[in-house]
């Protein structure tokens, strides 16, 4: 069994992260190139949506990652509070802008699909509204970190906000079942298996893997930066004491 908990040590994390990042980067680039090729050139037109279905290959993986990034942020925040681990708090902090970006993409590409398919860019149905709230939660979380100067207090407050916001995650996931939404119910992550054809499912999953790889790469870059920033703060504190 690898000493995975040793990754909670910032120096060992930096070492590990620098070793893994290039490979993840290459794999992500390859997946992304394949995914875009499949999405635009190989996947067939949908018999109802026509070529507009191609928007789904960006929209759906973005929405998956919007939720996944929040889950990472919430678990890291909980770990930070429970074990008082600075690296866990910094992981949550590093994940937030990535999650916010994917949420923004899910909303924007959803609107671009909604206009031709539904005849409207936006409706205030439960799915769209709860994802918009997710976006605001990310922004609030980021703003909270910036608003509080004391680092330990900022970490704690932001972690509590992230954990309170977790209640929104099942609401997003099940909104399409609980309420009569214009947004369709799940067609991939279903108890009885995916309900879409493999010609459309394959590009979706490849793009999903590419976005997941992107998340790992950018998270590791942002987290390394946060660890270095922490070293700078420590060093300055030591020096100011003379």
């Amino acid at each position: 069994m690898a000493n995975w908990h040793r990754l909670a040590n910032p120096t060992l994390f930096l070492e590990w992260s620098r070793r893994v990042r290039p490979w993840t980067g290459v794999a992500t680039a390859a997946l992304l190139a394949t995914g875009v090729y499949l999405s635009l050139f190989v996947a067939p037109r949908d018999y109802q949506q026509g070529d507009a279905v191609r928007i789904m290959f960006v929209h759906v993986p973005s929405a998956w990652m919007a939720l996944f990034a929040y889950a990472v942020m919430a678990v890291a925040s909980a770990a930070g509070l429970i074990w008082k681990s600075p690296l866990a708090h910094l992981t949550a902090k590093a994940a937030a802008p990535i999650g916010a970006s994917f949420t923004l993409l899910a909303l924007a590409t959803g609107a671009l699909w909604g206009q031709p398919m539904w005849g409207t860019w936006w409706v205030w149905d439960a799915r769209l509204t709860s994802v918009l709230i997710l976006f605001f939660l990310y922004l609030g979380y980021i703003a909270l970190w910036q608003a509080i100067d004391d680092h330990a207090r900022a970490a704690k407050s932001a972690a509590i906000l992230a954990l309170v916001g977790v209640v929104n995650i099942p609401i997003i996931k099940f909104s399409v079942d609980w309420w009569n939404t214009l947004h369709q119910p799940a067609s991939v992550l279903r108890m009885d298996g995916p309900s879409i054809h493999s010609s459309l499912l394959t590009p979706l999953l490849v793009m999903g893997a590419a976005f997941a790889g992107y998340f790992v790469v950018v998270l590791s870059i942002r987290l390394e930066r946060e660890v270095l920033a922490r070293q700078v703060r420590t060093l300055r504190r030591v020096q100011s004491r003379g």
Partner: protein
């Protein structure tokens, strides 16, 4: 075999399909670039602080052991 212009038209959905891919490319590229820039700045800052042998860069040829 469909022509290039037919492909670009996206069955009449070009005004929606291409912006969706363009926005995704723009947002993901900007976030990556922004994150790399911040990391580089932080490395330089840490390197510039006195009293600290840099641990911020992987060892390079010519570095002291």
């Amino acid at each position: 075999m469909e022509s290039v212009s037919e492909f670009l038209e996206m069955g009449g959905y070009a005004p929606f399909v291409w912006p969706a891919f363009a926005i995704a490319a723009a947002v993901l590229t900007l976030l990556l670039a922004w994150s790399l820039r911040d990391l580089r700045r932080e490395r330089n800052l840490l390197d510039s602080l006195p009293g600290r042998r840099s641990e911020t860069r992987p060892a390079e040829a010519g570095d002291d052991p």
